[in-house]
């Protein structure tokens, strides 16, 4: 900058330098709150704080709101308020409804805005300011993976909420992260046999895929399993997230010679793309002498509500459904319904269960130290939480349980009764070796 003519005098540099140095030196005492603690944010009072990090604004806000309801209900049950929900059906009886390790559960909430940046900022606030010892939440695999690696670096446990990408417990898995929700690999394994029964082994599929980690993962898994059946993949087109108008992507499907459209979309994207595909008359077409079909591999009640009439008869998979008949599901649906006046979604269920599982592991470990809690969760076999006998696999921190194949109901009895369970795929059929998805857990980080 030759244009700046006024040079600095030696004195002013010295003066400001000295002042700056002085101030820099002072606050180093504030750099750490607790050197003596055995792990980060060790609760010292009579409460323990959880961080609920969900999308409250943005494309997945509906899911986020339902997740938050479930978390609040879980905290009530852990503290002994309400009817106890699934605590009474849970196979582990460590929790007594009087908090965890003698401490009442408190919580803080945050808005992820469905953005990795905002989610990490919010999670950091919970860890650094509010002293949260566990972060949970999600509703987008991108966000979940970003927050999971943050929790690993900071040294707290992350209990993933709704995240379906293989990468969360695959290529991007972390020791401090745990997931109850299923993944696209399991969706593929469960859905493919049903697709074969309904549509036959000789089909030509066209994929529309949301262009991010979950979409890629979903597309890969569905391709893999349908091609094993003998299907042919005509094309797989990536669409930007939140596109709104999918007509430019749907028109080419008509002339591609494909007779099945696979929509690897979620949330509002799925509502829009499915509605438009139906409006374009795809489902009334006959291609290659066969009825044209649409498949939505990951279904949710909230999406079915959004798409209305158009979901009728469309196949997909689901982690859980409130209409299941086991005791755990009924207890949860009843207490959620009493509290909020409508049945819970699968997002609410997985978040509720994750909170309970974490609390139970802390109680059994007798501490909140991440490495100990993690060991209590690893290889943990349980039942009574709505999915039948379930295993938290030690090798990748992924839960293994039955997967539901669902279909849009032809004659729904109410606005919450939109999906029917076609088949409950047993756990053995969706299990895969942990090495299949790559990645490395690393070791636990206690944050000190």
């Amino acid at each position: 900058m030759t244009l700046i003519r006024k040079p600095l005098s030696r004195r002013s540099i010295l003066r400001s330098g000295a002042a700056g140095g002085l101030v820099l030196a002072t606050p180093t005492i504030f750099t750490s709150r607790a050197w003596s603690a055995g792990y980060l944010n060790e609760p010292t009072g009579d409460t323990v704080t959880f961080g609920f990090n969900v999308p409250q604004t943005g494309a997945y806000a509906d899911e986020g709101a339902d997740e938050l309801r479930a978390y609040q209900l879980a905290v009530k049950h852990l503290n002994g308020e309400g009817d106890g929900g699934m605590l009474s059906t849970f196979s582990s009886k460590a929790l007594g409804g009087n908090g965890i390790n003698g401490k009442k559960v408190a919580f803080v909430t945050g808005d992820t805005q469905t953005k990795s940046d905002a989610a990490r900022a919010s999670a950091k606030r919970m860890i650094e300011k509010d002293g949260a010892v566990m972060i949970t939440g999600g509703s987008s695999s991108g966000v979940a993976i970003a927050v999971q690696s943050l929790c690993q670096e900071a040294g707290v446990i992350f209990m993933a909420g709704l995240t379906h990408s293989n990468d969360t417990t695959g290529k991007d898995k972390r020791a401090n992260g745990f997931r109850h929700f299923f993944n696209t690999e399991m969706t593929g394994a469960a859905l493919a046999p049903v697709l074969k029964n309904v549509m036959g082994a000789d089909r030509r599929a066209y994929h529309l895929t949301a262009d991010y980690t979950w979409g890629w993962s979903q597309e890969e898994s569905i391709k893999k399993y349908t091609e094993q059946l003998g299907w042919e993949t005509v094309a797989a087109v990536r669409t930007p997230l939140g596109a709104g108008d999918f007509s430019q992507y749907i028109t080419p499907v008509l002339n591609s010679g494909a007779d099945v459209l696979v929509l690897n979309h979620y949330g509002k994207d799925m509502v829009n793309s499915l509605t438009q595909a139906v409006q374009f008359g795809l489902r009334d077409k006959m291609v290659n002498g066969k009825q044209f079909e649409i498949v939505v591999p990951l279904y949710s009640e909230l999406m079915a509500q959004g798409a209305g009439e158009n979901v009728k008869g469309i196949l997909g998979s689901s982690n859980w459904d409130w209409k299941l008949s086991d005791a755990g599901t009924q207890a949860f649906t009843k207490s959620f319904g009493q509290e909020y006046g409508f049945p819970p979604s699968q997002a609410a269920h997985t978040c509720y269960v994750q909170t309970l599982l974490y609390a139970d592991a802390c109680q059994r470990a007798g501490t909140f130290m991440p490495s100990e809690v993690g060991k209590a969760l690893e290889g943990f076999e349980f039942d009574g939480l709505g999915n039948g006998p379930t295993l938290y696999r030690a090798a990748d921190h992924q839960c293994f349980k039955d997967v539901l194949v669902v279909k849009g109901k032809e004659n729904p009895s109410s606005q919450y009764d939109l999906l029917e369970v076609v088949e409950v795929t047993p756990r053995a059929q969706v299990e895969y070796p942990a090495e299949l998805l790559g990645g490395e857990l690393g070791s636990y980080n206690n944050g000190v």
Binding site: I4, S12, R15, T31, T57, T109, K115, E128, E153, G442
Partner: protein
């Protein structure tokens, strides 16, 4: 602030500013903002807004695409981490260089127009970069998932040194997260503020103000304003690039949403809220917006019940019900109301508010004293 700037005043202001920034962990703690992540954000976005103000405040060119430079800075920084190593200094330098080059290219085209056309051009460029980062450039940006440093990256200079430890940026052994990260950002903010102050007082700054007040007149006197505006645009872009790099230095993840038009709009809000064309204003504005985003959005009904617990029950419930609309997910609503109030009643932003209060004091104390004005020299 409205008083004539003299070198002594400037120095005093700089020293007070530096002291205030470095002691932030202490004086922000009572309002719940004294934790490292938010402090880092204050410093980083303060720097971003300062740079933006060099362009907008001085030349009057309203860029609606500044977030693009933030994004370019972020991606460059993460790639530097991936290829060279986790030291923040090369990352910052590379980010400044890359965003500077990017700014030359965009500025060269956009600055051919002024006023609303310039704004729209920059907006278009930024939106283009955002969409590129999401689609065509996915191999470089990793799309929606965001670019991260992985253990398998080459990291020429320190790949051997790091074993199982967390992948965060380290400056000669000091991890750039938490308070050390904040001090790193704070020092850069102070340096950035110092440079901005110099530019404000320099003949170059006067030229930029001349561009703002009347470009035609400048042309008639035979001066070509384009080199000046381009220089301001590039400097401002470099500030944004550095801010983007700092975001990644404190937290090694770069996502495309940083380039979205809402992020560009945010920096405009920060500058206007604080007071455009003032040195401190944009930094205050940035702090205010980040405070709202992080603290107000975290209030839930429980917190409100605790705050209004002193009220009798029949009052407490409606009060909580009404205020809950404005906190939590409604934080943007509060911000919107505040923004409207400030633009209507204090068009010069928070800084105008301060100077009005300052003037009130001077008038009331001056009324008692003599009516004598300072003698002319």
């Amino acid at each position: 602030m409205s008083a004539t700037p003299t070198p002594t005043r400037d120095l005093l202001m700089f020293v007070v500013f530096a002291a205030a920034v470095l002691t932030m962990p202490m004086w922000l703690a009572p309002i719940g903002a004294g934790y490292p992540d938010l402090l880092q954000k204050f410093a980083i976005y303060g720097l971003f807004a300062t740079g933006f103000n060099l362009l907008f405040g001085l030349t009057g060119y309203l860029s609606f695409g500044h977030a693009a430079f933030l994004g370019v800075g972020s991606y460059t920084a993460v790639w530097t981490f991936k290829l060279l190593g986790m030291n923040p200094i090369p990352a910052a330098i590379m980010a400044i260089a890359a965003s500077g080059i990017f700014a030359v290219a965009i500025g060269f085209v956009s600055l051919r127009r002024s006023g609303i056309y310039f704004s729209i051009l920059t907006l278009a460029f930024a939106q283009m970069s955002y969409n590129l980062a999401y689609s065509v450039l996915t191999p470089i940006t990793n799309g929606e998932t965001g670019l991260r440093v992985l253990r398998s990256d080459p990291r020429l200079f320190d790949a051997a040194g790091q074993g199982d430890g967390p992948l965060v940026s380290t400056l000669f052994g000091i991890e750039m997260s938490g308070y050390p990260g904040f001090y790193f950002c704070a020092v850069l903010l102070i340096i950035g503020f110092f440079i901005a102050q110099r530019i404000f007082r320099s003949p170059f700054g006067t030229m930029l103000r001349a561009v703002k007040s009347n470009q035609n007149r400048m042309n008639y006197t035979g001066l070509n304003p384009r080199p000046y505006t381009l220089a301001a645009f590039v400097i401002s872009g470099m500030y944004a690039g550095l801010a983007g790099a700092l975001l990644c230095i404190t937290d090694p993840l770069a996502g495309a949403e940083r380039m979205q038009w809402t992020a560009s709009g945010e920096v405009v809000l920060m500058t206007i809220l604080g007071g455009m064309g003032t040195l401190l204003g944009p930094i205050l504005g940035a702090g205010l917006i980040k405070y709202f985003e992080n603290i107000f959005s975290a209030f839930n009904e429980q917190t409100l019940h605790r705050i209004f617990g002193f009220l009798p029950d029949f009052l407490e419930t409606p009060v909580v019900a009404i205020t809950s609309l404005f906190v939590g997910e409604g934080w943007q609503l509060t911000l919107g109301v505040l923004f409207m109030l400030i633009v209507i009643f204090l068009p010069g932003g928070i800084m105008e508010g301060f100077s009005r209060i300052g003037r009130m004091f001077r008038r009331s104390s001056g009324a008692k004293g003599s009516h004598q004005t300072a003698p002319a020299e």
